[in-house]
Subunit: 289 residues, 2 copies
């Protein structure tokens, strides 16, 4: 990670680190937002293999303000933080680093952004049965605030990986009184869970570009009164969402969560409210093309 010499202080630097990062939308989104507000900030993208080294460089660069952290570094990054919220420690990963007074502060923005996407769509989760498909990193990030801050009737989780599933259930149950079930994802278990679910949150990568023809949920299982939220945002409307919409469900796109988390990162980096509509326009332009 080479910081360009032409960017002199006091220009504040932010960046996304990951591997790969070439296709990240974050530079376009954040730079458009910086420009819109006339901020002397620049947002770069670094392909990083050595996370520890990258964190040291941020720490050593006074005007380096923050990082977005993406795959595969979200788990390792947590190790190098000076400060971290309890919920992010429980989740076990972060996607945001704020460099403040020589300290690195780690934050996860995925969970709050998913909850905001649901709230913005007018979904009241109180006393609702939520079905979560997948028990990996994204599911963890959403499940902790979901069960820790809201009063659901029940959270049901399905995955084909029993280890992930039981670990997540165990970790969640220490911090909530919400009843949680975790079962192997099979045709029959999915059909049964779909009957009970008020809200479905799809947290796997099934249906993501370039595998756009895939969906975990057979369309006949959707009921019009259900809310279906897909965290996948490439394509903008996944097959899962298109089929749920056709069956009359309320659908929430992953792009909403993605925009929310970028806006929250912007707030962490600058202390200012993000120009959300500018950010949304950039995301839509990039994803519709």
């Amino acid at each position: 990670m080479e910081i360009p010499q032409s960017i002199a202080p006091p220009t504040r630097i932010c960046a996304v680190i990951g591997n790969p990062v070439a296709h990240s939308l974050s530079p376009a989104i954040h730079n458009a937002a910086f420009e819109a507000l006339g901020l002397d900030y620049v947002y770069l993208a670094f392909k990083v293999e050595n996370v520890k080294e990258a964190m040291e460089k941020v720490r050593a660069t006074e005007n380096f303000r923050g990082l977005s952290v993406t795959i595969p570094h979200k788990i390792e990054a947590l190790k190098y933080m000076d400060e971290i919220a309890e919920v992010d420690r429980a989740i076990g990963s972060i996607n945001t680093v704020i460099h403040e007074q020589n300290k690195l502060i780690g934050r996860g923005t995925d969970g709050p952004s998913a909850l905001k996407a649901l709230a913005d769509a007018g979904v009241d989760l109180e006393n609702k049965t939520v079905l979560m498909l997948g028990a990996g990193g994204a599911a963890r990030a959403i499940a902790f605030p979901l069960t820790g801050t809201l009063k659901l009737r029940q959270l049901s989780m399905l995955d084909i990986n029993e280890t992930l599933l039981q670990q997540l259930r165990g970790d969640l149950q220490r911090g909530t009184s919400t009843p949680i079930t975790a079962e192997p994802l099979t045709g029959p278990s999915l059909a049964k869970a779909m009957v009970a679910a008020d809200v479905v949150i799809h947290c796997t990568s099934v249906g993501m570009h370039p595998r756009e023809d895939a969906s975990l949920v057979p369309p006949e299982l959707f009921r019009p009164e259900q809310v279906v939220f897909d965290i996948v945002y490439t394509p903008l409307e996944t097959r899962l969402l298109a089929e749920a919409r056709r069956r009359g469900c309320t659908v929430i796109r992953g792009s909403e969560m993605f925009i929310n988390q970028a806006a929250l990162q912007f707030k962490y980096f600058t202390g200012l409210d993000a120009p959300v509509e500018i950010m949304r326009r950039v995301v839509m332009e990039q994803l519709q093309s």
Copy 2:
């Protein structure tokens, strides 16, 4: 990990490390085999949290002969080895450590043991289409020798985790000319893959005790000419295997692979051929009770 003082040299020590390890069958299997051959060996179980420390203790204990490594330490253990086969480095995990002349040698026995289970059942894989369900650690361990040493017609892999799937496909393709497809695991993709599959290898934890009523494959998809191999061995006959058997398939139990890998570890630890029938009897006694 405290090595009992009452075990004096020259008694050779072997052990399984993991977390948890309380229910490991390995001590019963290996101790029965040691006894049957009159070897001055003992096999212990250590619940280990710090893998590095455990490896240092093995290295510092001259009569410590070897380790079986189980969940969650199979990936980390690889870091502390002095010697490792190229295939195990590609797989990215090991389950066996041999302590030899102050060196730690890492080996993976899962892949060869799965292939032996197939060969012992008379399954000729040459020019066959193999469907692998799951792309996690166990799938990696089997897929590398499968594509690296045999001439399949095709390997198809299905998982709900696109990252695991594409990583495994990419890694495999560097070492084989076997055509490999990797797709999201959904009802339709599974149905389509089952039509083409000569051999199905189930590498997820679905159907494992205590979730014995689960199976990834709807029974109507099995054809009598198929071979179905489940790496899950608790219960001995999973629902997947029971349904495949009922539909006329040739079935191979995970216990076969489990016995093979214990026998291969025994060979690494002692230099002697394992008393396989003794080991099998112990496994059957433990799993049938």
